[in-house]
């Protein structure tokens, strides 16, 4: 268990393993996203009250779910940074924030676009919307803090602290529709109950949620890999990896062997 843990936290090991996995995860992401989009747009039946505007749900709900789980993952990475000072966790923490911010932005904007034809307003300062807006600002805060501090691990520790403090916002978002009277409808999915929608409606949603998670995984892996190349320059394996002259010598030896 511990050797596995140490291996996983080694940038070299992560770089090699993620390189093998990345094409498969990317394929799965394209597959799920494509299927999900077609089902959501063309095959799901329209809502009897909201008509076709309810199709925005297939973007809005996955992005809102992902916005919160991204934040939780960022905070977990932050905790690991503060306790064990693992370099890979610092990189993950840094790389989640931009994606998290854009997905939170997507959830907010699609909420507005859905709200206008359905409830007649783009935005109200209700608990759900406001706490999501705070989430967006927390992401902005982490990004700004990251770029404001030059010392890499110092920046990571500051961001870790901020993301842990901001964690208090997550239950507020989750329970906001229950604690306060709000315009926002209650959760579409509950783990403990059967969905209240027919299968043709919730299956595309499930596929879209999986698709969003897969896209996030692809983006995170690509970003962390870049970050490793950036920060692990001093190690031999990275130098070997990027060295164009090493590459050329392999090519020339192949060529020489052929002649």
């Amino acid at each position: 268990m511990w050797t596995w843990y140490h291996k996983l936290s080694s940038p070299k090991w992560f770089y090699q393993l993620s390189g093998q996995w990345l094409p498969w995860i990317a394929c799965a992401a394209v597959l799920f996203l494509g299927t999900g989009l077609v089902m959501a747009l063309a095959y799901a039946p329209a809502d009897y009250q909201q008509g076709n505007s309810f199709r925005i749900m297939y973007i809005h709900v996955p992005s809102a779910i992902l916005a919160q789980s991204c934040y939780m993952m960022m905070a977990v990475a932050g905790g690991i940074v503060l306790i064990w000072r693992i370099k890979l966790a610092e990189m993950v923490l840094k790389c989640i924030a931009p994606f998290g911010a854009s997905i939170t932005f997507l959830a907010l904007v699609t909420g507005g676009i859905w709200g206008y034809p359905t409830w007649g307003t783009w935005w109200v300062w209700d608990a759900r919307g406001t706490s999501m807006l705070i989430l967006l600002f927390l992401y902005f805060g982490v990004i700004a803090l990251q770029s404001a501090i030059n010392n890499t691990s110092g920046a990571a520790r500051a961001c870790a602290l901020l993301s842990l403090v901001g964690l208090v916002n997550i239950p507020i978002i989750k329970y906001s529709v229950e604690w306060w009277n709000t315009l926002h409808q209650p959760a579409t999915f509950k783990l403990t109950e059967k969905p209240s929608m027919p299968m043709e409606m919730w299956l595309p949603l499930l596929i879209m949620v999986v698709a969003f998670y897969l896209v996030f995984t692809v983006v995170l892996i690509m970003r962390v890999r870049n970050e490793i190349l950036e920060r692990e320059y001093k190690t031999n394996w990275v130098r070997k990896l990027i060295d164009p002259s090493a590459d050329r010598s392999i090519k020339s030896s192949v060529k020489n062997g052929g002649e």
Partner: protein, 62 residues
């Protein structure tokens, strides 16, 4: 298939503008997030290669 015609699919009842702008924004945002690290990788590799070359030249001249 829920819609009778392609026109009906584009119109989305009366909600075409809303549905398509939401999906459009989603596609744009996800694409940007995927393309940015792809472009960045080239930049990082080029930068580190240049650094490596400088060091190798320095070592060669010493």
């Amino acid at each position: 298939m829920y819609f009778d015609s392609f026109e009906a699919f584009l119109a989305m009842g009366k909600h075409g503008v809303y549905v398509w702008s939401a999906y459009g924004l989603a596609i744009v945002l996800l694409s940007v997030n995927v393309i940015a690290p792809l472009l960045n990788k080239r930049k990082v590799v080029a930068k580190q290669q240049a650094r490596l070359r400088r060091e190798q030249q320095k070592r060669a001249s010493n």
